[in-house]
């Protein structure tokens, strides 16, 4: 059984102007020990989706569908049960470089806090565990007495990772863990996450706008646009031969290091993500799509198989695969 299963999850914010759909029917699953990357521009709903997993969204957000963590629906949990699951079963790595750490408390106390809250350790044992965790993320144990502002951005991010590991969770949700770090530190932090996750057999959901980062760390990739998954599949394939035009644009937005051709000709994507209050009819991506057809303005294509273990929501994929499937059937008969 998969560790995490999202079944038709939707998130709607009720705001003054009406209802704002941030996530619209996302279904994904994650096996124990696997790593899933969720990519998309800002406003694609990827962070909202991540926060919904532990019901951390503000009160004005309504979450629909089912979020099964180890077979138990997070959305149906009672408050006490939810608190027990938080951090102990699934923890989150935020952008520690920014404001993820409480500025007036020592980092040792912040790392030990979930251990004490969940009754997993007495204060003395928690202190020892903090030293052990800091060592695991490559920080000296005396750093436990430091305050967040005394650390560099990369060190703070390491603290965030140590904190996420504290209760030995089965799932870690990393929300833009390397944003706002410089490239060298970014690579160090990514390596660290990759190794710790593999070593402890922890499942990982990583959220980022950077497809290359996700392809590096994750086995599976899901590309989100306007609150929906538009392409899903093994990360290498999605990154290198994306089937959805949006995934292609996202993959091309980051030049390959050492490849002058890609640097000289960066392929950006014109326009802005759509206003969730006024989504275009048909395929939400069609106004920005370089290969849009007339029918895209009215036809909303669902995720369609686009290869072994892959799906994509594009009319071109549907057309190609339908022909392929039909052709194969004809040949077989």
């Amino acid at each position: 059984m998969s560790l995490l299963e999202l079944d038709d999850v939707s998130v709607t914010y009720r705001i003054a102007a009406g209802e704002l759909p941030a996530v619209r029917g996302v279904s994904l699953s994650l096996d124990a020990g696997a790593a899933l990357g969720v990519a998309g521009e800002s406003g694609s709903g990827k962070s909202t989706l991540a926060m919904a997993l532990l019901r951390l969204l503000p009160k004005d957000a309504r979450v629909g569908g089912r979020i099964l963590l180890d077979g138990e629906d997070v959305l149906a949990m009672k408050w006490g049960r939810l608190r027990a699951v938080r951090w102990a079963a699934a923890s989150i790595v935020f952008q520690g470089a920014q404001h993820g750490l409480n500025p007036v408390r020592r980092i040792g106390d912040q790392i030990a806090e979930p251990l004490l809250v969940h009754g997993l350790a007495k204060p003395d044992a928690a202190r020892a565990r903090v030293a052990e965790l800091l060592e695991q993320v490559g920080l000296p144990a005396w750093r436990a007495r430091s305050y967040p502002h005394e650390l560099s951005g990369g060190q703070r991010q390491r603290v965030m990772i140590a904190m996420a590991l504290a209760c030995s969770p089965r799932l870690i949700i990393a929300d833009e863990p390397t944003t706002a770090l410089d490239v060298m530190v970014q690579a160090q932090v990514l390596t660290l996450i990759k190794e710790l996750v593999a070593e402890h057999g922890i499942s990982l959901i990583m959220i980022s706008h950077d497809l290359s980062v996700l392809a590096d760390v994750c086995d599976q990739l899901a590309v989100m646009y306007a609150g929906r998954v538009v392409e899903h599949g093994p990360s290498g394939e999605v990154f290198h031969e994306a089937r959805h035009p949006y995934s292609r644009a996202l993959a091309a937005a980051f030049p390959t290091v050492g490849d002058p051709v890609s640097r000289m000709a960066p392929k950006g994507l014109g326009g802005d993500p759509p206003d969730p209050m006024q989504l275009p009819g048909g395929c939400a991506f069609h106004p920005r799509c370089p290969v849009a057809l007339d029918e895209c303005a009215s036809l909303d294509v669902a995720l369609w198989p686009s290869g072994p273990g892959r799906t994509a929501a594009c009319v071109h994929v549907k057309a190609a695969e339908s022909v392929g499937v039909a052709g194969a059937e004809e040949e077989g008969s």
Partner: protein, 351 residues
């Protein structure tokens, strides 16, 4: 695949490289001393300001003291000489500074008694009234501000913020007189239930009953004092809490499985309190000055009332004494606020 330890090593060296950044308490002491130096300079300036500004006030003290009595110009001159007002201004100032440094604040023109004694008598009642008022106002403001900010936009928020703002915009003397009329004098057939003059009854009993007597005298002035000032604590606490709530570390705390109350108590409030602490310390300084208006309305025998009486003479020495006490208290408290803030906020500490 490399082991985590290998990958971690360069980072560990790098992390320990820039040296031990743990807070040094010597730096703290140096900070406190430099602040104290600044405070001493301010107090010196106050000394100068006090003397000259009050000499600019209109009114001749000798003439006012002689009011109603028939005095010859020769008698007035004699009185001036007795008070030292015949000397050149600079000589007067030098005398004033010398005496002040010896803690001799002079003799009141009006009361014919040492100013220091007068202040000593009045300090107790003032600290009692204004201190109690401050404690209540700060607690009420922080408590309501925290509740309002944590659930901003709620009915409680709208009600408490609205009420406090309304009371804040009310003039102190008007509210004081209103409370006095309603609860002190009584309206129509309803008798007044609380005393509103002075600090104790004429026939004050002894022991515990005396405390009750003073307590009942305190209710109305205290209520006035609290009502008009608690809004500032509420508002500053509320707005800084609202700001903290949207920070990531609060979401992290919730994600850790903390109860809502613990998220508020252990994470959001300690951060939101910082601006409030500064404000409270600044107000503590003013406590010494009492509340001139409230003390005057309720004839509370405190420093505020003394200051008010001194201005109406004008009783130079008494004014100088009380004014200096108030300003020095404010300066000392501001300095203390800086130091305390330094201790509370680790970010300021290392800056």
């Amino acid at each position: 695949m490399t082991t985590p330890l290998e990958a971690a090593e360069p980072a560990a060296i790098q992390a320990a490289g820039p040296g031990d950044e743990r807070p040094t308490y010597r730096g703290m002491l140096r900070y406190a001393l430099s602040k104290a130096g600044g405070a001493l300079f301010s107090i010196a300036m106050v000394l100068v300001g006090t003397f000259f500004v009050f000499r600019l006030l209109p009114g001749d003290p000798v003439r006012n003291l002689a009011q109603g009595r028939n005095m010859t110009p020769a008698q007035l001159d004699l009185e001036r000489r007795r008070l030292g007002l015949d000397k050149p201004l600079l000589d007067q100032f030098i005398d004033f500074v010398g005496d002040t440094l010896r803690l001799d604040l002079g003799t009141s023109y009006e009361y014919k008694r040492p100013v220091l004694d007068l202040i000593g008598e009045r300090l107790g009642p003032t600290l009692l009234l204004a201190g109690t008022g401050l404690v209540i106002a700060v607690s009420l403001g922080i408590w309501q501000g925290t509740r309002a900010g944590w659930r901003h936009g709620s009915r409680f928020d709208r009600f408490s913020t609205g009420t406090s703002l309304l009371l804040w915009s009310v003039p102190t003397f008007w509210l004081g007189l209103l409370l006095m009329m309603v609860f002190g004098v009584g309206i129509g057939p309803i008798p007044g239930i609380l005393p509103f003059r002075g600090i104790e009854s004429v026939d004050a009993p002894d022991g515990f009953a005396y405390l009750l007597d003073v307590g009942s005298h305190m209710v109305l002035p205290c209520l006035t004092l609290v009502a008009v000032v608690y809004a500032q604590y509420l508002l500053i606490m509320r707005s800084s809490l609202v700001e903290e709530i949207s920070q990531d570390y609060v979401t992290v705390a919730r994600a850790k499985g903390l109860r809502d109350d613990d998220v508020r108590r252990h994470h959001a409030v300690p951060n939101a309190l910082l601006p409030t602490v500064t404000l409270v310390f600044m107000r503590v300084g003013f406590v010494v000055g009492g509340a001139v208006t409230v003390e005057t309305i309720f004839t509370w025998p405190g420093l505020g009332q003394l200051f008010y009486q001194a201005i109406s003479v004008p009783d130079f020495t008494l004014m100088q004494g009380t004014f200096m006490l108030i300003t020095v208290a404010v300066i000392v408290m501001n300095t203390l606020a800086d130091v305390v803030y330094h201790i509370l906020d680790p970010r300021v500490r290392s800056a």
